[in-house]
Amino acid sequence: MNASAQASKPAFRRSLIQTLARMTGAIFSTHHRNVGFGYLAISSLAVILGSLLSLLMRTHLAWPDWPLPLHGPILPEEYLALVTMHGTLMLFFVLTVAPQAGFGNLILPAQIGATRMAFPKINALAMWITALALAILLSAFFVPGGSPISGWTAYPPFSASALAGPGQGLGLDLWLASIALFALGGTLGAVNTLTTVVKLRAEGMIWQRLPLTVWGWFTAALLGVIAFSVLIAALLLLFCDRHLHTSFFIPSGTLINGVLLQPQGDGSPLLWLHLFWFFGHPEVYIAILPGMGLTSMVIANFARRRVFAYRLMIATTLLIGLLGILVWGHHMFVAGLNPFAGTAFALSSMAIAIPATAKVLSWLATVWGSRPRLPAAMLFALGFVSLFVAGGLTGPILAQPILDEYLHNTFFVVAHFHLIMAMAGIFGLFCATYYWFPLVFRRTLNEPLGKLHFWASILGAYATFLPMHLTGLAGEPRHYAQLTGIPGPAGRLLGNTMPLQQHITVAALFLFCAQLPFLYNLVRTLLRPTDAAENPWAATTMEWAPANASAESTAAVVHRGPCHYSENGETFTPQWESEAHPPE
């Protein structure tokens, strides 16, 4: 016994070393799947933190006198810090990272019939830069003054001086560094994605046959390459304004907390808005385009039909991307933008409604009259459509300068972008998770739990964000830490929204708790032995090709476009099959 214990000890040590080596190997590997998991880990951390911050914000809005345990009452500047960090974490590190970089790396190469990304080392480097960016951002919580308070948009002159608030010194400098690094990582990742799509497609994967998910990733990457570097330029100029006494964004005679910031210099905050939103609006599409593509494919998959108007869907994806570059001014209608420019941007913004509507029509037409299977993946895709419509309908409203003038700084806008970008984006991510889980892990997530997750999530999403339209219309301003105790008629008006505020907060808590079945489902499924069949959804796209199970297999060849299902939906011809199924 003693001898065997002695013998097992080195064996155990060896196996431990091997496990550690394998883990470090996986962590530092340049294989696209490991990189994708790295990105997903980054955004998982960010989404948990970001949701907790939002719950703190909601609690404070509904019950402003409630002191945070171990901290005390939440001060107004702390509320703004919560707003800033919530927005930054969610927008950059969740909605940009997870759909584009995370699932892009996991799935995209297989979906185009490639075995790798074009530049694996650059890919891994980009992931590590993004991780570093997240670490730097989170470190802002712990520096003197705390995290920045100027929102994820960091408008100057608020962001141009450390005098402007507690987090605007070192905290904002860390924010700048983090976002600059993030943009660098995003650019590198986007270059990699673009080159992969352009050059590494399998034989026969002509671009009409590319799945719409790939089109979404491609367009989003193209937007990333164009937009991120403009953000870097803006950040650099803002840094110069903060530390090198320039005046790109600071007008002359700016007083901040009684201190004359810039005795001379004719900068303009409007310039920052132009540069920032030139990045910021494409950024929104980077977050949502992969989800749009995935929704098309998943709906077609479970409706057992081809995507309605496939080529038109390709065109609308590209058109949304192109128009997305030309609409940034609609974020600036009340910021001093020339009213003539406002009209031009309003027109280009409303033009986006055309391709977006075409997409919704295609989703509906694809599923219409079919008898779709409704597993959780399909439910989340349909939920994406629902949220996209609900959030999108307020888009043309806000694209009108006249209406935006009233609504811009109210919760109406918060409701709009949370429904169409945040919730739709997250539903796209859940759809991706349920849909591709069998592919990645060879296990299928539990369906009843998935359905519970979906119904609770969509209920929570609507219960949280629909009432925000009402409070916004009632005049609830954004970025206000407290709505009670304001004297005068405005205070009475805001006081009237308090019951709704409390409802929204409870609904947000419910939405948060609705994710617990999902987490349980994930852990439970991962602990189980593998079970799933090779292609449980009867999908037609290349990532499900059996050859891909063994990496570095013989070259994949693509024979047709995706979603070839027979008329009755019973048989299907995947993209990798050389001969169509014999006619029934």
């Binding site: 050059k199 570097s229 320039t246 070259a555």
Partner: protein, 256 residues
């Protein structure tokens, strides 16, 4: 529907051996004596993306192309700021519009620097083309000596030298401005002068790094294709930075 296609340049034949590259550097070492098209090791049987050196080269070029989007958009953004900042003004106590922009006198050494950078671009192009000169490239591919790599290394070294001269020239220009008490902080126009030149210099330093990497690769890399890829992309990057400099120089010289 044909699922396999022959790369078009395999069908194109040139009489003049030295015309083989036709300036775009598309060619793999060669298709004539490698048993390429139909001689047993049929490239068409290989999956796209790994048919050979040409695919690697094209992949690297595509990556560089997309990366240049990002670099140029950065300078477009700064250029936009340049124009707006130049026009911006404020109302003074007497209700006059006062513009604080004073043009920075561009040191004339920048003309010299520009010429040097253009020369360096030419030598980089010589290096790039020499990697695709058919007979030598084939010799090298077969392993009979390294005539192309040696020639490319010489031209790349020339490029490296000229590039360093350019960077040193920029340094001299900054010192000349400092001697005239034109510092970064002086005026909006000098902010832009320093930011644009410094950012371009940083990108050019990346190019210098790429040149050094290419020189190392020329000595060390075993595959001829690797050497081709490094020299080719470095040269294209160098050209792009030269082009960018001309735009920036025109902006600084005539745009103020």
């Amino acid at each position: 529907m044909p699922t396999t296609t022959t790369p078009p340049e395999l069908d194109r034949r040139h009489d003049d051996l030295y015309e083989g590259d036709n300036g775009s550097g598309r060619r793999p070492p060669n298709d004539k004596r490698t048993g390429g098209n139909g001689d047993g090791d049929n490239w068409n049987d290989q999956p796209q993306g790994r048919r050979g050196p040409r695919e690697r080269l094209n992949r690297a070029r595509a990556g560089l192309f997309f990366g240049l989007f990002a670099i140029f958009m950065f300078f477009v953004a700064v250029g936009t700021t340049f124009f707006v900042r130049k026009a911006n003004a404020h109302v003074d106590a007497y209700s006059h519009w006062v513009n604080d922009w004073l043009p920075t006198a561009i040191p004339s050494i920048l003309w010299l620097n520009t010429a040097v950078l253009l020369l360096s671009s030419i030598s980089a192009e010589f290096a790039r083309r020499s990697m695709f000169r058919e007979n030598d490239a084939l010799d090298e591919w077969f392993g009979y000596g390294r005539p192309t790599s040696r020639r490319a290394a010489i031209w790349l070294s020339v490029t490296l030298l000229l590039g360093s001269v350019f960077l040193a020239g920029q340094w001299v220009a900054w010192n000349q401005l400092a001697a005239q008490h034109t510092y970064f902080r002086g005026n909006p126009s000098s902010h832009f002068f320093y930011i644009l030149t410094a950012m371009h210099a940083i990108h050019l330093l990346l190019g210098v790094g790429a040149l050094i990497a290419a020189l190392i690769v020329l000595r060390r890399a075993r595959q001829f294709a690797t050497r081709q890829v490094f020299v080719d992309t470095t040269a294209w990057y160098w050209h792009a930075m030269g082009f960018l400099w001309i735009l920036l120089f025109l902006l600084l010289e005539y745009g103020q």
